[in-house]
């Protein structure tokens, strides 16, 4: 993810559905338009929920990076 600056990241491992999704929503709300934020989730359900929410909320899912141990880092750009 060279060239992309993540302004804020929350490690939501150990938090269960809908926790990581709530973290992403809070992050996006507190961010400025154009900011890139990330949430790390180890929760299986949230791995589908997070991209679905980002699409529904009309932001941009920049990347889903697998992290050792089965978690995923969801990187999202705030578009509006």
């Amino acid at each position: 993810m060279e060239g992309i600056k993540i302004t804020k990241e929350v490690d939501a491992r150990g938090s269960f559905c809908p926790g990581p999704l709530m973290e992403m929503i809070r992050l996006i709300r507190s961010a400025n338009v154009g900011d890139v934020v990330a949430v790390i989730s180890g929760d299986e359900g949230t791995k589908k929920d997070l991209p679905a929410w980002i699409k529904k909320a009309k932001h941009e899912l920049i990347a889903e990076e697998p992290i050792e141990g089965g978690a995923t880092r969801f990187i999202c750009k705030k578009l509006h």
Partner: protein
């Protein structure tokens, strides 16, 4: 039309409360308007501080729910009230107390957790639910 989900929360057991607030969270996240109508045992669970000692479980699922509750406590799953408060922060979620239950059991709005905004009759609930989905838990 605005998408909405109305939940009738009749149960005051932790398993049903958690189910209700989790569904409410998901719906709120997906930008649906959510109203939760708390009635009878559901309303009793919203009395101030009741959540701190509530270990009630649905009789139908007693065996499994006991295990599930233990697992959730071990994994530090947030309590149902905190989950509900999170849902209210991120979306349009309101909680309304059933007027009939309040009258029958002589409960006042100030006896309930502050997440409950008002007391309504079933007619108001049905009117507000009109055109959306209704879940009974």
């Amino acid at each position: 039309m605005e998408e909405k989900i109305s939940i009738i929360l009749f149960s005051g057991t932790v398993d049903k409360l958690l189910a209700a607030v989790t569904i409410a969270s998901g719906a709120a996240a997906m930008q649906k308007k959510v109203q939760i109508f708390v009635t009878f045992y559901g309303l009793l669970a919203f009395r101030k501080d009741d959540w701190k000692t509530n270990r009630r479980l649905s009789k139908d699922f007693e065996d499994f729910a006991t295990e599930a509750l233990k697992a959730m406590e071990a994994k530090k799953v947030p309590n149902w009230l905190d989950t509900l408060k999170s849902a209210m922060e991120i979306g349009d979620v309101t909680v309304h107390a059933c007027g009939l239950t309040m009258d029958l059991l002589a409960i006042k709005l100030e006896d309930l957790e502050s997440v409950v905004s008002d007391i309504v009759g079933v007619g108001t609930f049905i009117e507000n639910a009109s055109g959306g989905q209704i879940l009974f838990l």
